[in-house]
Amino acid sequence: MFTTQYYGSHYANIIQELSTIGIKTERDLLLAKDEFILSKTNISPEDYYEFKREVIATCKVPVRRGLSLIEEHQRSLLSTGCIGLDNILEGGLRVGEIADISGAAGTGKTQLAHFISLATITSSFFSTADPSHILTPTLSSVIYIDTTLSFHPTRIRDLYLHSDKFADLRDIGVDVGVVLSRLKIYRCFDVYDVLETVESVRKELESGRGAEKQWTEEDGAEDEERVEDDKLACCQEGVWDEREENANISVKDGKGNGNDHGETKDFYGRLKLIVIDSVSAVLSGLVQTSHSQGYSLMMTLTQMLQHMARTYNILILTVKTLSAFSAVDTKPALGTTWTHLPSLQLYLSRCADEERVYTNRDGEGITVQPRVCEVLRARTGVMGLWCLVYMGDNEIFAPEPGEYYISGSDQESIY
């Protein structure tokens, strides 16, 4: 739908004229014949074609080069913080995708989600791919949408304060308060709340990322490509810089309150992960065979999430419960429709293996229980791989496959 807010007030007349002949959306305009519109309205051809160019520019999908796609693919890995899990995922979780953890009650889905959140916040401290980050590591941000009150702040604090994974960070003086302030919690109790939250996050991202100068060039470029229309061919350096500046100024003018929201912008600028724990809690009441609206909401939610993940390079991690349809078999909840939606599905289950004792850096013995983590489905990478994830007290780790025994001496290698 055309709005003067989006297209600017100087197009108000044209929008008004067009709506009188029933042309209200981008789609209407692009499907209509130019002669028809010009003959029915009083819009001058120059104004009309200018407006149409503007509309086309907003609808156009930006061109991407294969080379940059590959670079993106390599750069977009997000470590889970567990070496064994990263191995079966071929390096880690990928930003721009929806990943999904499912498993029976009490198998540690929420624990894993807590741990991945913490590992994501501190990811740049562990990153080896980009040396510039190691010099000036920054904390990333994570949003946690909690639908079953399962988020536990003391738990995540204890994980940071006691786990060996974060021992180096504690040693260099990264304060737990600073780490926790990078994690935002939304508590939602129905699907409309979740949709509302996702929409408000998207708005923040939309207004924030345009002004983020230090953000990756590609993101900036994408935004400008939307504004500029058919000048793609001329991407010489000079033109590029000029555009970037223009974009920055226009955004600042539009908002005019950059300083007040500096903190929010910083938060959303570094947003890397959104966790939804759990999706099935809000959706399973609606999804039923006799009622299609539930499916529609589910698809809408995933579409919004997918769009956000891809546009802003964020990983969406959903946590989902199991449903048991027969006495013996359990499978991830929300039916078969959902299984097509995430790009990656992990499945946690208990295993008959013995508990083990892990000796941490302070020399305390910690009893850890094994869980099997299996890749049920993956769009990129290999399906059917699995690894053992040990959980207990304040430790979660997955040793390399084959490395069965955990001893105090090679504690470095478990992460």
């Binding site: 739908m1 709005t3 003067t4 989006y6 209200k24 959306t25 209407d28 609808c59 009650a105 009490g106 807590h114 949003i143 639908t147 079953t148 009150l149 399962s150 988020f151 702040p153 003391t154 738990r155 604090r157 204890d158 926790l180 935002k184 919690i185 939304y186 508590r187 939602c188 109790f189 129905d190 709340d193 949709l195 509302e196 939250t197 929409e199 408000s200 998207r202 939309e206 759990s278 099935s280 809690a281 809000v282 399973s284 009441g285 039923q288 609206q293 529609s296 809408t300 939610l301 579409q303 919004m304 956000m308 546009t311 419960t321 199991l322 048991a324 909840a333 208990r350 207990g392 007290d393």
Partner: protein, 344 residues
């Protein structure tokens, strides 16, 4: 332009949704600029207002983890009168969480319920929550006589702690009058009650605990459509979660046990049967904490099998004339029970 929330995801009736789509509205952004007057050209003013309210609905507040940490530290948990169980749960039954106790008949589930509904009234001077209790009884097992017994034991303890000179503030009558008791006879009543519970809680803002004894009773018979049962239970749990969060109270649910059979594929091995909590796998996800109560060698044991912040643990307790207490004899060292017996 794309990526904004589509109109189809608003909580509107299908008729209005179709009208909006026909009028060219695609996303919430399109609605932001319009006024009720503009909208009401095609639909009634009431509907137009309703639509706009939807788009300007109060957004969910975000809190950073450090803020949540500070807030949740302030909430006092509700003691069970057994130190061992309190320690296992990190100080007692936690506020703003759903805690489930499962156990076979006669293990003392109702005793826990009565004890908690009395203990929630421990005054603030003794670092108690000083609240009221809502007791939702589906089985008819609540006995006022027993509540009075436990209450008088509590009164004795509380008044023993009062400083000399101050008058005893608590007596059995006030305690019993602060237990709001609902007796439900079928699951329709249960669903209806949970839907209107927030009205009741607005009037009784001191309620700090909601006890449901038991959730399983009305759901274990009379349901031919199991998928329907699962859906009802899920939305019930979602409502309770919302109540627990918005009214800052603890929800305690009691659940029955059911027998699960394992037919072994190996012919020489015998088939096995174990006790597991009733209501199935999807219900198991709805609670934040799950505790299984069982007998072992004549001692009552409590096993925390699901918790986001506490480790899995087994402790012992006993039930006497005065209510739930620790096992005095120090045989209470936590013993590990083979886990396979408890989990599927």
């Amino acid at each position: 332009m794309s990526g904004a929330r589509p109109i189809s995801s608003l909580d509107l009736s299908p008729g209005i949704r179709t009208k909006l789509t026909k009028a060219g509205f695609q996303t919430v952004r399109d609605l932001e600029e319009t006024t009720p007057v503009d909208l009401s050209k095609g639909i009634s003013t009431d509907d137009a207002l309703k639509i706009l309210q939807q788009t300007k609905r109060n957004t969910v507040d975000a809190m950073s983890a450090s803020e949540v940490l500070v807030r949740e530290r302030l909430a006092a948990s509700i003691s069970t009168s057994s130190n061992a169980i309190d320690n296992m749960l990190g100080g007692g039954v936690p506020i703003r969480k759903i805690t489930e106790f499962c156990g076979a008949p006669g293990i003392g589930k109702t005793q826990f319920g009565i004890q908690l509904s009395v203990n929630v009234q421990i005054p603030e001077t003794l670092s108690g929550p000083e609240g009221e209790a809502v007791y939702i009884d589906t089985e008819g097992s609540f006995i006022a006589q027993r509540a009075a017994e436990i209450a008088s034991a509590m009164v004795e303890r509380v008044n023993g702690h009062q400083h000399a000179g101050t008058e005893a503030l608590v007596n059995v009558d006030t305690i019993l009058s602060k237990i709001h008791y609902f007796r439900l006879h079928n699951c329709v009543e249960l669903i209806a009650l949970v839907k209107v519970l927030d009205e009741f809680l607005k009037e009784h803002s001191k309620v700090k605990i909601i006890i449901i004894d038991s959730i399983a009773f009305h759901f274990r018979h009379g349901f031919s459509d199991m998928a329907l049962r699962t859906r009802i239970l899920n939305s019930l749990a979602q409502d309770l979660t919302k109540i627990a969060h918005s009214f800052n109270l603890a929800v305690v649910i009691f659940n029955q046990m059911t027998t699960k059979f394992f037919v072994s594929s190996d012919r020489s091995a015998t088939d096995q049967a174990i006790l597991i909590p009733a209501l199935g796998e999807s219900w198991a996800h709805q609670c934040n904490n799950r505790i299984i109560l069982y007998w072992q060698d004549g001692i009552r044991c409590a096993n925390l099998i699901k918790s986001a912040n506490r480790r899995e643990q087994i402790v012992t307790y006993q039930i006497g004339a005065t209510g739930i207490r620790d096992v005095i004899d120090d045989a209470s060292s936590s013993r590990k029970r083979p886990r396979e017996d408890l989990n599927d």
